[in-house]
Symmetry: C2
Subunit: 111 residues, 2 copies
Amino acid sequence: MPHTDYDCNLGCPIEATLEVIGGKWKSIILYHLMEETLRFNELRRVMPEITHRMLTKQLRELEQSQLVARKVFPEVPPKVEYSLTSYGQTLHPVLSALQIWGIEHLKTSSE
Amino acid sequence: MPHTDYDCNLGCPIEATLEVIGGKWKSIILYHLMEETLRFNELRRVMPEITHRMLTKQLRELEQSQLVARKVFPEVPPKVEYSLTSYGQTLHPVLSALQIWGIEHLKTSSE
DNA sequence: CTGGATCCAACGCGATACTG
DNA sequence: CAGTATCGCGTTGGATCCAG
């Protein structure tokens, strides 16, 4: 890709993306939701290190970014499903790139 | 891309990548160094919003990650050039993916 | 089960001043 | 020009408790 004049001063695209998927948890959440719809506690199970509070918070932000959809089932006990929106799906190439490089990086740094 | 068993619990590749290029500034610095070697103050000029202190700090961390090379010219006044290492170059696809999605995202969110 | 609210410690980061 | 050291504020985020 050419070094365009999106010069990262005004509305830098890279920064914009990181704004949305950056942080310690968002991309991981998105990654897990890429394949399957998950409930709140299912997400906690696949991400044992995130705290209850943070998961809630991150999910709210992903909702606001239109990347994640929240579906509430009016039941007792409550049931809430989280899934990617179609817009969220467009992040697939980005997450793939991150994952691919990460795999190589982990290999390299463990040598 | 298949949903492999890099399940993001133990040594998650995505997290590993973000560990290295994440944060508000690192990817931007890498982006600018992708095309050309730059001196300290040249970097500041293309990134007007970063503070002196933060630029120094981020550059040190990128050095430690082996992504950026620091070359000091023993002159007065001092001259220091920063460039990508060959390892740093391998991030090209990742940064491209971030940039491409960001461009679309900015378009979308401004509508 | 899902999730909000509060308290509080830890850290990030800017501002500033100082060096070779 | 390039870089370090110190201070101090603001935000982040963990622990905990409460609620539908």
